[in-house]
Amino acid sequence: MNIDIDAARQFIHANGRVLERHRLATLLDGAPTEPLLTALRAYRNPDGGFGHALEPDVRCPGSQPAATLQALEVMLEAGVTDDPMLDDAARWVAAVALADGGVPTVLPSADGHPRAPWMEPGDVSGFLTFALAGKLWQAGVGKGWLDAASEWCWRELEGEEPAGGYTVKFAIDFLDAVPDPPRAAAALERLRPALDADGCLDVPGGTENERLTPLDFSPHPGLPSRALFTDAQIRADLDRLEAGQREDGGWTVEYLQWSPGAALDWRGIATVLALGVLRANGRLAS
C-alpha cells in the first residue's frame, strides 16, 4: 500500500474545485451529501441540464451533454438516487435528443466559448448517448427517452462497424447498466477484439501516452464488464493507478492539456476518481 491519502487531500485542498472538495469529503469521510449537491447546483441551468464547465473541456455556461453526464456521475458516485436534479437532468436529455434517440456530443450553445479541439458542436448522435443512457439506467430515471436511446445504442453495437477509442468505454458503461444481461454479455464479447493483450486500448488521434485501461472500462469489481479482463490485467492496472500518484499528491490525465484551468480541473477529477477506484478494488483502507 503506497498511496498517500493525506497528500491527496492536500492536493485537492490546494488545487481542487469546491465540487471536488465535497466529493472527497463524501468519499473518504462519509460526509453528508447536501453540501455536495449544493456545489453541484451551481453548475445547473434552469432547463435542468448542466453547463459552466462542469465537464472541463466544454467551457460554456449553457447546458451540455458532457456536463450533464458529469453531474449524473457525481450524484451516483455519492449514492444519491432521490434528488429531483436527477429527474430534471433526465428530462433535459430527452429534450435535446435527436429523432433517432441519440444525443449530440456538443450542442450549439458551445459556439463562441472556449473548448477542447475535439469538442465541436454537431447535429448527429454521438458516443455520449451510451454514457448518458448508462447513467440514467443506473439512476432508475428517464424512462421514456431511455427506451429510444437504448435502441440507438443497440443498433450501433450490433451493426457492422466495430467500435474504437472512447466509444468502447462509453459503450461498456451502457452495457454495464442496461438491464438486459444476455444481450449485454454478447455485446461485451463483440467488443473484446478492440482490446490489446493488456486489456488496454490506444486512443486514435490522442496524445502520445493516451490509452484507455481496464479500470477506465471496468472500474468496480462485480460489474458485468469484468468478464472482459483477467484478474492479472486488473491487478496490473491497479498497480499502475497506485503508482500514478504524483509528488504533489494528485493524479493526472494524459489527454491534451489545452487550457490551464481545464488541466487543473481534470487533475482534481482524476484524483477523486483514482481514490474511488482504488477504494472499490480494496487498495485503500476504508
Binding site: 439506467w137 443506473q138 447498466a177 438486459d180 444481461p181 444476455p182 462485480g222 458485468p224
Partner: protein, 238 residues
C-alpha cells in the same frame, strides 16, 4: 450439461440487491436437490408462471420441469425490501409473484410468456430496478459479519449495537430467517468454497467445531452426508 446454466452479473444500479441473474435452458429429466443459500429468487418457470422462491432452511427436491427457467437472485438482506413484505412470509415456499406484488406491476406471466426467451431476464431486471429498493444495512452488515468462520450471533449483535432479539427480527424480515440459520448457511457456503480434499481440515477452516458438527449441520441443511453433498456442490453467486 453444465453449459446450459449461465449466470450474469448484476447490472449497475442493482448491485446492492441482486447477486446475479441466471438462466437454465436445460429441460431437466431428473429431480434436482436445492439447498439453502440465504437468497430469495424470482423465477420464471415457463408454463408454471412467475414465482418468488423463498429462502430455504432445509433441502428440498424440485421435480423435473418441462421448460427452461430464468431467474434473478436477490442478495441476502435485500429480499424484504424488493418484495415489499417480510421475507419470512415466503420462507421455504414458492409463491406466485402476483400475490406478493399485486396487480400494480407490469411484470405478469402474460408479459413473460409473450417475451422472447432472450428478453425475459431483462424484464425481470427492469421490474426489480423499478422497485428502487435498498437492502436493510443492518442485515447486510450482519450477513457479512456472520460469514466469518469465528462469528457468534451474540457478538455480532453487540458489535452492531442492537439486541439479539432486534437482530433476529430485522434478519427475519429481510432474509426470511434468523441469524443462527444465516450463520449455518454461511458456514455451508464457506465449506463449498474451500475446496481441497481433507474433510476434517475443511471442517475446521469453515468454522465447524468438529467433523461431527459438520456432518450434523450439513445433513440438516442438505439431507446428505458431507462427502456426498460436496461431490456435486457448486457455489452460486449471492
Amino acid at each position: 450439461m453444465a453449459a446450459s446454466y449461465r449466470e450474469y452479473a448484476s447490472p449497475r444500479g442493482l448491485e446492492d440487491v441482486v447477486g446475479c441473474l441466471w438462466e437454465n435452458d436445460w429441460v431437466r429429466l431428473e429431480p434436482q436437490r436445492v439447498v439453502p443459500d440465504g437468497c430469495v429468487d424470482l423465477v420464471w418457470f415457463g408454463s408454471s408462471g412467475l414465482k418468488v422462491v423463498g429462502a430455504d432452511t432445509g433441502p428440498h427436491v424440485v421435480e423435473p420441469l418441462g421448460s427452461p427457467t430464468a431467474g434473478i437472485r436477490l442478495r441476502p438482506g435485500a429480499a424484504g425490501a424488493v418484495l415489499g413484505i417480510p421475507a419470512s412470509e415466503v420462507r421455504d415456499q414458492q409463491v406466485d409473484l402476483s400475490l406478493v406484488w399485486g396487480s400494480g406491476t407490469d411484470l405478469t406471466p402474460d408479459v413473460m410468456s409473450a417475451a422472447a426467451p432472450s428478453r425475459r431476464l431483462g424484464l425481470l431486471a427492469r421490474a426489480v430496478l423499478r422497485r428502487r429498493a435498498t437492502p436493510d444495512p443492518l442485515v447486510v452488515a450482519a450477513a457479512r459479519a456472520l460469514a466469518r468462520p469465528d462469528a457468534r450471533v451474540g457478538r455480532v449483535a453487540d458489535d452492531l449495537g442492537v439486541s439479539e432479539r432486534q437482530l433476529r427480527r430485522r434478519t427475519t424480515d429481510a432474509i426470511g430467517y434468523g441469524p443462527k440459520t444465516l450463520a449455518r448457511v454461511a458456514r455451508l457456503r464457506r465449506l463449498i468454497a474451500l475446496g481441497g480434499d481433507e474433510l476434517a481440515v475443511r471442517a475446521v477452516l469453515a468454522g465447524y467445531a468438529s467433523q461431527a458438527h459438520m456432518t450434523e449441520e450439513v445433513g440438516r441443511l442438505t439431507g446428505l452426508t458431507p462427502v456426498r453433498f460436496l461431490k456435486d456442490a457448486r457455489l452460486t453467486a449471492a
